[in-house]
Amino acid sequence: MNAPRQLLRIQCIGCIARFLGTPIQRMILPTGAHLQTPGSQHNYGQLLRPFHCSAVCSTSRPSQTQLEKTVEDETLNKDKGLVTHDDLFERAARDTKTKADFNRVVDVFSKKDIRRRGHVEFIYAALKKMPEFGVERDITVYNKLLDVFPKEVLMPRNFIQRMFNHYPRQQECGVQLLEQMENYGIMPNVETKVLLAQIFGEKSHPMRKYQRIMYWFPKFKHANPFPIPHVLPSDPVELARFSLTRIADDLDAKITIYQYPSTDITETGEEVMRPHIVGIQSPNQRSLLAKHNPCRPVFVEGPFPLWLRKTCVHYYLLRADPIPSEEKVEEEFDPEMIGLEQSLFYPQRLELDLERDMGDDFSFDVDDVEEGPVYAMCMAGQGDQVTLSQWISGLQETCPILGQIPTVFRLESGPRELQTTSDAQQTPEQEVETDQIIEEEPLHSQRVKQ
C-alpha cells in the first residue's frame, strides 16, 4: 500500500528537515514526490506551489474535458449567479448515475485548483449526492473524497494550535464525512487512517472520531444473530424462500414451490398472470396437523408484513385456534409399557407423591403464552382466495387430512395505494365488506408489489 509508505516518508522527511534546521515550508505534494529544496524559495508563479503561501494563481491550461470546462465556467462566471457544487454532480450524469461519474467529478475538482479552494463545500455537497450515485456504501469513494483535503496544511504545528481547534471548519467537515460513514455502517480502512493522519494529524477531532469508530464497530459487527444481507435476491421466489426460512427458523422445515410465476395466454387472448406460491412446513407441523380434530376449522390468515431492511414482503398463515383446556385429551400412559419393573427402558414415570421444589421450578415463563398451532406458512404473488386455495390443495398432497377439515379464509385486503378523493367517491361500496380492514400504505417505502 502506498499510503503507509507515504506516511512513513513524510515523518522521515519532517525529521530530517528539522534536523537540518530549516522550517518545513515546502511540502511534499500528494501526487508525485517532489521536494522543493530550501534554496529555491524564489521560484514563485510556477506550476508547483506550496499551499499555505498565498500567491497569484497562474496555472497553465492543458486540454480540458467538458466537465472541466463546466468547472471553469463556474469559477469564472461567479458574478452571473450562484452555481453550487450540487449542479456539478447534476450536470455530470443526467440519466444514469454511476460510481465512475462520481469519481470523475471528484477528480476534476481535485485537479482544477492546486489550492483546493472551496473543498469544504465541495465535500459537503458530495456527501449529500452520494446516495443518488449509489456509492454511499463504498469505502474507496469515501477515501477518495477524504483525499480532496489538502495534506499537511491542516496539521497543527505547535501546542497552541493543538489546543485551539486548528482549522475548525475543516475538522468539522472531516468529522461529518466520518459521521456519514458511520451512519451507513461502513468500516473504515487503514487507508482512511493514513489519510486522516496526513491531513489532520494524530490528535485531531476526525482522528478521534476514527478511533471511536474503530473501537465500537468491530464489537457491533456480529451483534445481530440473524443478519439480513444488503443485497436481497430480486427473484420473488428466491426472496420468498429466504424470508420463509427466516421466519420459520427451523432447520427441519422444508420449502415447497407450488407454482412458479408465469404468464399464460388463454383462448380469448387474455393474459393470465400466475403468481408464485412458495410454502414452508416442518415435519413437526405436519404431524400436528395430522392430529388435528376435523370438527374444528383451520384458518388461513394474512397478509402479515415482514420487513427486510427496506423491502416489505407479506406472508400468510395456516393456523388453528388453541384447544380450550376442558377439551384437552391427555395422552394415556399404558402402565404396562411404562411401569417400573421393566429394564429394557427405564421407567418414564415414578410413582411418587413428591413435586419439584420451588428453587428448581422453571416451568413458569411470562413469555410462554398458550397459542394455537401454526401448521404452515406461505408467500404468494397475489393474496386472493384463488391463489391461496391453490396453496391449500398443494398442501393437501402431503397432509390428506386437510380434505376433511373446514378451511376458513380470513384474509385482510393486502397493501393498496392510498386512495385519492376522486377514487374514494367512485368506490365507496367496495369499502363496506365484512372482515376486511383497509390498510393505509406508509409513504416512502419500497414494496414488493402484491
Binding site: 468491530p218 411418587l352 407423591d353
Partner: protein
C-alpha cells in the same frame, strides 16, 4: 438377599466345573482361529461342531432335555472362556442367554419338550427378535403385528426385525409382536406377545449379514416376516404378556458380561506382561516404568472387580426362589462394558504401534469390546434404570419425611438442623460392617469405613435430590447419571469387600494380593464417589452443559467463529 458372606458353590460342583472347563479351554486355545473368523466374518462349521460337541449350546438347559443343566455361576465360569473369541461368545449368548431363554423360563412343558432338545444339542439355533428399525431402546414402539386368523388357530405375523444376532442361521426365533387384546374393561388394546417362530413356518426371509466393526464372525441381519403362520400353541406365556417375558429374558442374561470381561482381561494381562517384561528401552524393560505399571494395575483391578461383581450376582440369582437381581445385573453390565473397553485400550497402548497392527490380537479385542457398551441395553438406558429404581425405592420411604419438611413443620426442621450439626461435629458412621460382630475382615476395616461413609453421604444426597426434584427427577438425566455411577461404585465396593473377606477367612492362595487390590479399589472409588456426591449437591456444571448442547444442536454445527477470523 444378603451380600455377606460371598456366595459359594459346593466342592462337588467345583470338581464338576473343573471337568467341564478343561476341555473347553483346550478347544479354544487350539482349535479356534479367531483371526480367521474375524477376517472372513464367518465362524467355520468345524468350530461350530466342536462347540456343539462340548455341549456349549445348552449350558443352562435342564438335563432332561439334553442340556448340561448348569447354574448361573457355572454359566458365568464358562463365559470366561468363551469370551476369548468375541464372535463365538456372542453367537452362543444370542442362542442361549436370550434366544431360548424365553422357552426355558416362560414356556409350558409341551413347548419345552418340543424345542429344547434340538436347541440344546445345537442342531437348531435360536435367535431373539425384538429390535426394529423404529424401536431400539424404546420397546413400546414395536410395529410388527400378529393377527388372529378366522379359525382362531393361527396368528399371522407381519413385520421386520433387524440387528438380529444369528439371524441368518436361526431356525427357532423368539419374536415379539403387537396383538390386539380385549382387556377387563372391554376395551381393545395393543399388547405385546412373545411367539416361538420356526423358519419352517414359511414367510421368513433373512437379509444379508451386516458388515460390522467388531464381532464380525457373528451373523447379524434383518429378518422379515410376511404372513408367517404361527400356531397359537407357540405363544410363550399368555397373549399380551410378552413384555414381562422380554424383561425377564433380558435381565437374566446381563450378569455374564462381568465374567466374560474378566476372562478376556486376564488373558490380555498374560499376553501384555509377556511383552512388557521382554521389551527393553533405555536399557530398562518396559515393566520397570511407572506408567506401564499403572496400566497393569488398572487391568488387574478391573478384572478383580468385574469377576467379584459377576459371581456375587450369579450367586444371588442361584439362591432358591426366583430373586429379582435385575438391578445388580444392570450394574455389573455397565461397569464391565466400560471397564473392558478401557482395559483393552490400555493393553493396546502398552504395545504401542505393534498393538495397532493386525499382527497382534489387540485391535480385534478392542473392536469386539466396543459392542459391549451398546447391546443388551445401552449403558445410558441402564444407568437411568439403575438410578430410577433406586429413587423409586428411596422415594417411597422418604416421601412422608420430605412432605413434612416442605410443609415447614417446626419440629422436623429442628430435628434436621440438629442432625446436621451433629454430623459436622462427630463424623462417625457405623452400619455395623466392621467391629466385633462385623462381617468384614479386620484387615479391610479402613476400606469398609470408607464404604460406610459413602453410603451415608449418598443417603442424605438422595434425600435432598428428592426434595429438590420430586418425581420430575425422571427428566434430570445428568443428575441420574451421577447417582447411577455412585450406586455402581458402591455395589462394586461391596462385592470386593465380600469376596476378600471370604478369601482371607478361608485362606485362599494370594489373599494378601486381594487385600491390596480391595484397598486400592475402595480408596479410588471412595474419592470418585465423593466427587460425584459433591457435584450432586448443586456444585456441578449441568446447567452449562445443557446450555452448550442446546446452542450447538440449534445450529446443528459448531457455533464459535474461527480463531483466525477478523472483523476489520
Amino acid at each position: 438377599m444378603s451380600v455377606f458372606p460371598y456366595p459359594e458353590i459346593s466342592k462337588e460342583e467345583l470338581e464338576e466345573l473343573h471337568q467341564l472347563v478343561q476341555p473347553v479351554e483346550k478347544f479354544f486355545n487350539e482349535d479356534v482361529d479367531s483371526k480367521k473368523i474375524d477376517h472372513e466374518a464367518v465362524i467355520p462349521p468345524e468350530t461350530l461342531n466342536g462347540l456343539k460337541e462340548l455341549g456349549l449350546f445348552g449350558i443352562q438347559v435342564p438335563e432332561e432335555y439334553g442340556g448340561l443343566g448348569l447354574s448361573n455361576t457355572m454359566y458365568a465360569r464358562l463365559g470366561e472362556i468363551t469370551s476369548l473369541d468375541g464372535a463365538i461368545a456372542v453367537t452362543l449368548a444370542a442362542h442361549q442367554a436370550i434366544g431360548l431363554k424365553g422357552i426355558l423360563i416362560a414356556g409350558n412343558d409341551a413347548q419345552k419338550a418340543k424345542y429344547l432338545p434340538k436347541l440344546a444339542t445345537g442342531e437348531h439355533i435360536a435367535a431373539f427378535c425384538l429390535t426394529e428399525p423404529g424401536s431400539g431402546s424404546d420397546a413400546a414402539s414395536i410395529q410388527t403385528r400378529a393377527t388372529l386368523t378366522e379359525d382362531g388357530k393361527h396368528f399371522l405375523l407381519n413385520g421386520t426385525k433387524f440387528w438380529i444376532s444369528n439371524g441368518g442361521w436361526a431356525d427357532i426365533m423368539t419374536v415379539f409382536a403387537r396383538t390386539e387384546v380385549v382387556d377387563k374393561d372391554g376395551q381393545k388394546k395393543d399388547k405385546i406377545t412373545a411367539f416361538i417362530v420356526e423358519r419352517a413356518f414359511g414367510g421368513v426371509t433373512s437379509g444379508k449379514p451386516e458388515d460390522k466393526l467388531g464381532i464380525r464372525g457373528s451373523n447379524t441381519c434383518e429378518i422379515t416376516f410376511e404372513d408367517t403362520k404361527v400356531p397359537i400353541e407357540n405363544v410363550i406365556g399368555e397373549v399380551g404378556g410378552g413384555f414381562k417375558v422380554a424383561m425377564n429374558i433380558l435381565n437374566n442374561g446381563r450378569f455374564s458380561m462381568g465374567s466374560a470381561g474378566a476372562g478376556m482381561i486376564k488373558r490380555l494381562i498374560e499376553l501384555t506382561s509377556e511383552y512388557a517384561g521382554t521389551r527393553k528401552q533405555f536399557n530398562r524393560s518396559l515393566s520397570e516404568f511407572g506408567m506401564i505399571q499403572d496400566k497393569f494395575a488398572t487391568m488387574a483391578l478391573n478384572a478383580f472387580v468385574m469377576e467379584s461383581m459377576a459371581y456375587l450376582t450369579a450367586g444371588m440369582m442361584d439362591r432358591p426362589g426366583v430373586p429379582d437381581c435385575s438391578l445388580e445385573a444392570a450394574m455389573v453390565k455397565v461397569f464391565s462394558s466400560e471397564g473392558s473397553w478401557t482395559c483393552v485400550s490400555e493393553a493396546l497402548q502398552v504395545l504401542g504401534g505393534l498393538g495397532f497392527t493386525k499382527n497382534y490380537p489387540y485391535e480385534r479385542y478392542l473392536r469386539d469390546c466396543r459392542i459391549l457398551q451398546i447391546f443388551e441395553g445401552t449403558n445410558e438406558i441402564l444407568r437411568m434404570y439403575i438410578a430410577l429404581t433406586g429413587m423409586q425405592y428411596a422415594g417411597k420411604i422418604l416421601t412422608g419425611k420430605i412432605k413434612e419438611m416442605k410443609k415447614g413443620n417446626v419440629g422436623v426442621v429442628f430435628e434436621i438442623l440438629g442432625k446436621k450439626l451433629k454430623d459436622l461435629v462427630v463424623k462417625t458412621v457405623d452400619f455395623g460392617l466392621t467391629g466385633k460382630d462385623g462381617v468384614v475382615h479386620p484387615s479391610l476395616t479402613e476400606s469398609a469405613k470408607m464404604f460406610e461413609q459413602n453410603a451415608a453421604h449418598f443417603g442424605s444426597t438422595v434425600e435432598s435430590l428428592l426434595y429438590r426434584y420430586g418425581k420430575t427427577i425422571v427428566d434430570e438425566q445428568l443428575v441420574l447419571k451421577k447417582v447411577a455411577d455412585v450406586l455402581i461404585n458402591l455395589y462394586a465396593m461391596t462385592a470386593v469387600l465380600s469376596r476378600t473377606s471370604r478369601s482371607i477367612s478361608i485362606g485362599l492362595r494370594s489373599h494378601d494380593h486381594e487385600v491390596l487390590l480391595t484397598n486400592t479399589f475402595c480408596k479410588d472409588a471412595h474419592f470418585k464417589n465423593n466427587f460425584l456426591l459433591t457435584q450432586l449437591q448443586k456444585k456441578d456444571n449441568d446447567a452449562n452443559i445443557k446450555k452448550i448442547a442446546q446452542e450447538v444442536l440449534a445450529k446443528r454445527a459448531y457455533v464459535c467463529s474461527h480463531p483466525l477470523d477478523r472483523t476489520f
